[in-house]
């Protein structure tokens, strides 16, 4: 459903992606792995239109993807950034409300009630300011917010960073649930176990290019690839 | 953090040469303009130190200069103190005023800092405007220039005075570089980039801000004293916020945080103003449009624009040239 071919992108003068190509398929979970600074987050930002596409092509549902983040979101892609980006001036409730509904995408019917069921902790903090949450709470809020958009493709950048194992587990279960419901996802992860147990497909990025492609089982089995590309 | 580079040196040398040439050859009005530029340049250097290297965008530097001018006038003309002593006194007074303002405003940032400094500037303005000792709205006249006849200089001659200002500007520039390269200046730059971290590292942030603001105040005070000596008349308008605003425009127009840029800005601004006001009374319109155009070009002022275009290239050329001359250097680098 989303296909990147020979994408070049970066920050101003600094080029980070050098002809990166990958494909995320409908109804499947794609994990993007790679070392720090490999260009994983840059890839996601380029998809979202947060960074300009210098050359190459990104196709979503058969059409070239929009260039502005607003239009990309409208076409049904939700994004959970590495930095979470909770709105500090808004309460937790408002943070969720402004993301809710909008494009009426044929989603899995995520509602306020359902995300609060998923993250009861957020329910306790509904009227708190966004930045009064701890790091972990902010991560939950960012995920909840993205789910409320009822996207067709969910993009998560390191959803487990800084989360306690028990919450990681919870998120794993919930994402797994989404997967069985048929939601397409792209997940960037450092947590190898987490990523490979969730993903169907895996690409490994190194120095701005895809250096390994295959299925989750394959990479789990391929000790050599793990060692070379991920250093585990 | 402040660094000199080839382009900066080149522009400095060019500016100094042009000023010297102008000082030696210009007619009466040309010298007036030159002196105006030189005094403004000292003021904007003071402002660039705090705004460009400390993130303390001040809207009271005009007022500080005004305080310097009034202090000098009162000390020399009213209290009868010898001009050199009065001058030192005035600089000390503005230094102290700057230190206090810096200390008091040290917890404010961004627009709040701007407004806090504006408040102090306006307080000084209102006070000077209304207090009879300062001559009120009518201002004060009869201000004397420094008497340097001992070393054979007559500052009442416009040319000598212009050269005198040029020499002081050179000294101030040197002092500014020393300040920025000192431990204090380095810490200031750290504070600008991340105040919270500097504090967590154990730096007493407000003291650094106050100290630098005080030093900058002294320089602004010197500019004020020179302005008073140049015009030999002062009025409260000197302290008004628009003067500070203009100084800020000059700094940004020239290139904030480059030290060289504001000098370029001062020259450009004064010359532009004089050329335009000779043609039309609507010269503010033209200046406004030029300002907007410069900013839209997205450069850090005129100098920033030049530096972005040619700075790197020149730097490379020079590096290549020096390599060729010093093969030993290359070996060591490799």
């Amino acid at each position: 459903m989303l296909e990147l071919s020979a994408v070049q992108s970066g920050y101003g003068e600094t080029q980070v992606l050098y002809g990166l190509s990958l494909e995320a398929k409908q109804g499947r979970v794609l994990a993007i792995l790679g070392r720090n600074g490999a260009g994983k987050s840059t890839t996601l930002k380029t998809i979202m239109g947060l960074l300009p596409l210098k050359s190459g092509e990104i196709v979503f549902d058969g059409k070239p993807i929009a260039s502005r983040p607003f239009d990309v979101a409208k076409s049904g892609i939700a994004y959970v950034p590495e930095t979470r980006d909770i709105f500090p001036s808004l309460t937790v409730r408002e943070n969720l409300e402004i993301a809710a509904k909008r494009f009426g995408a044929a989603g899995s019917g995520w509602t306020m009630a359902r995300v609060l069921e998923l993250f009861p902790r957020l329910g306790e903090r509904l009227d708190n300011g966004g930045t009064q949450l701890s790091g972990g709470e902010q991560q939950m809020l960012a995920i909840a917010r993205a789910l409320l958009m009822n996207p067709r493709l969910l993009i998560l950048d390191e959803p487990t960073e800084g989360l306690a194992p028990i919450i990681v587990k919870l998120i794993h279960d919930k994402l797994n649930e989404l997967k069985t419901e048929g939601l397409s996802m792209i997940i960037v992860e450092q947590n190898f176990g987490f990523a490979t147990s969730l993903a169907d497909d895996v690409v490994v990025v190194g120095r701005g290019q895809v250096v390994w492609t295959g299925s989750a089982e394959e990479i789990r089995a391929d000790q050599a690839a793990q060692h070379t590309w991920l250093g585990v | 953090m402040f660094r000199h580079n080839t382009l900066r040196y080149a522009v400095l040398i060019f500016l100094a040469g042009a000023a010297l040439f102008q000082a030696l050859t210009a007619g009466y009005f040309g010298l007036e303009i030159l002196t105006e530029i030189l005094v403004l340049a000292i003021l904007v250097l003071a402002l660039d130190i705090v705004a460009g290297f400390g993130g303390m965008v001040s809207l009271c530097h005009g007022a500080l200069a005004g305080v310097g001018a009034y202090a000098y006038a009162l000390l020399s003309a009213k209290a009868g103190i010898a001009p050199p002593v009065a001058m030192a006194g005035a600089v000390a007074v503005t230094g102290a005023a700057g230190w206090i303002i810096g200390a008091v405003c040290s917890r404010s940032h961004g627009i709040y800092f701007i407004m806090a400094t504006l408040a102090f500037g306006q307080m000084a303005y209102s006070y000077v405007f209304e207090a009879p000792v300062f001559g009120g709205d009518d201002g004060l006249g009869g201000i004397e220039r420094l008497d340097l006849s001992l070393i054979g200089l007559d500052l009442n001659d416009s040319r000598t005075f212009a050269l005198f200002c040029l020499a002081l500007l050179g000294a101030v520039y040197g002092a500014a570089v020393l300040i920025l390269r000192s431990g204090l200046g380095r810490s200031l730059s750290g504070v600008m980039h991340n105040e919270q971290r500097m504090r967590a590292l154990g730096l007493t942030v407000w003291r650094v801000k106050a100290d630098v603001f005080g030093l900058s105040g002294m320089i602004a005070g010197l500019a004020g004293v020179l302005a008073a000596q140049h015009v030999m008349f002062i009025s409260p308008g000197l302290l008004g916020w628009t003067v500070s605003g203009e100084a800020l425009v000059v700094v940004i127009l020239g290139g904030l945080g480059t030290l060289v840029g504001p000098l370029v800005g001062a020259a450009a601004f004064v010359v532009l103003k004089h050329e335009l006001s000779a043609v039309t009374t609507y010269w503010h319109l033209v200046v406004g449009v030029i300002l907007i155009a410069v900013v839209i070009s997205r450069a850090n002022g005129i100098f920033g624009w030049v530096e972005a275009r040619w700075g790197a290239r020149i730097e490379r050329r020079v590096a290549d040239a020096t390599r060729k001359q010093q093969p030993g250097e290359v070996a060591r680098d490799a």
Binding site: - | G27, Y28, F29, E32, E36, S126, F129, E130, G135, G136, D137, D138, G139, G141, G142, A227, V231, M232, F233, I234, S235, G237, L238, S277, T281, Y282, W283, H284
Partner: protein
């Protein structure tokens, strides 16, 4: 021979309107009377921007670089204070066409500075006596807090109390920072005065007169003032609120004499405006210059000396220079602003005789030649 005149006026800034009126008057004056002298005139204009240091720089330029024979203009007292020493030192005659600070023809007088406009004391002093004569007993005064404001009010207060009146309250409002006079008006109302006497000019005058009326004070507390309050330049912006306000000034466009009629007509024809006191000051400054050249004066020194002895019948009536101070001597007109056929007009209520200002510490060399 050619006489080079430097016109030093604010063409931008808050007093631009005044500068333009003086300039128009000056031009008209040269045109009107130019034929009476053999001298021809070349004008160099410089904008003071109402900033004393800028004005001083421009004055230096006019004197040192352009080598003008005479300087005319200057609207603000601050600017006059700034250029005074320069003018005096360089020995260039200056015809002041507005700035009214008393010192310029008092303690700081100079044989080279001749004032064709007015002095602050001069336009307010007669009003104190006159109001007392009209039976006004208690007055509350208001003016902006700067040198001119204080001088105007002080001159009025001195003559008013000398004539038996009482000042029951005074307020000086922050200059150019006060837009809302409500607080002061309430104080004036509560002061128990019979009348209010004020000095305001320009935008402040408009705001003041309108706000005075809106609070309904005009009926119970008649408004008097220095004539700048209802100057023809602003009175139409003040509108009906200005009706019935009684003020005094050295010129109003409705003065009934032949010179004024001729002046008002030509000025209106040239600019489309009724002439203001500023216009007449420019006009008379030009006239004074021409009168001086008619004596054969042509250089800085002779012009200065000739200017001190100028006297003529102009739009303001008999206008002459007092050689003891170099200030103008002229009648003062008390006038009421009334509704006329084309908007508001000035009804002259009384013409108070011309009086020379006290010398105020001026020590001037006697006229020689």
């Amino acid at each position: 021979e050619d006489i080079k005149v430097g016109l030093l006026l604010p063409y931008s800034g808050v007093y631009a309107a005044l500068g333009n009126d003086i300039d128009a008057g000056f031009e008209l004056g040269l045109k009107q009377f130019g034929a009476e002298t053999s001298a021809t005139f070349e004008i160099v204009r410089e904008d003071t921007e109402v900033k004393p240091p800028v004005a001083l720089g421009k004055a230096k330029k006019l004197i040192l670089q352009d080598n003008v024979d005479v300087v005319a203009g200057i609207v603000s007292s601050g600017v006059l204070g700034a250029v005074r020493d320069m003018i005096d030192g360089a020995g260039v005659p200056l015809i002041v066409a507005n700035a009214g600070n008393d010192e310029a023809t008092g303690a700081d007088c100079s044989p080279f500075i001749t004032r064709m406009s007015f002095s602050n004391g001069q336009v307010n002093r007669p009003m104190g006596k006159w109001m007392a004569e009209q039976g006004v007993k208690k007055v509350f005064t208001l003016a902006p807090d700067y040198a001119a404001g204080r001088q105007m009010i002080d001159a009025f207060a001195a003559s008013f109390t000398a004539a038996g009146g009482e000042i029951v309250g005074q307020e000086f409002t922050p200059f150019q920072k006060t837009q809302d006079f409500g607080p002061y008006l309430a104080t004036a109302k509560a002061s128990g005065a019979d009348a209010v006497y004020v000095f305001y000019a320009g935008g402040e005058a408009i705001a003041f007169v309108k706000q005075y009326d809106s609070f309904g004070l005009k009926a119970e507390l008649p408004l008097y003032g220095s004539g700048f309050l209802t100057s023809p330049l602003y009175v139409n912006a003040e509108g009906p609120a200005a009706e019935g306000v009684i003020t005094a000034l050295h010129y109003v466009p409705t003065i009934d004499n032949a010179e004024n009629q001729a002046f008002a007509e030509t000025f209106t024809a040239a600019t489309g405006r009724v002439p203001s006191e500023f216009a007449v000051q420019g006009y008379d400054a030009a006239r004074a210059l021409i009168e001086a050249t008619k004596t054969g004066a042509a250089d800085r020194e002779t012009l200065a000396s000739a200017l001190r002895q100028v006297s003529f019948d102009g739009p303001r009536g008999t206008t002459s220079i007092d050689p003891a101070t170099n200030n103008v001597v002229q009648p003062i007109y008390v006038y009421e602003t009334v509704a006329g056929d084309n908007g508001l007009t000035q009804k002259v209520v009384a013409q108070l005789p011309a009086e020379a200002d006290p010398v105020n510490g001026c020590q001037m060399a006697p006229v020689t030649n």
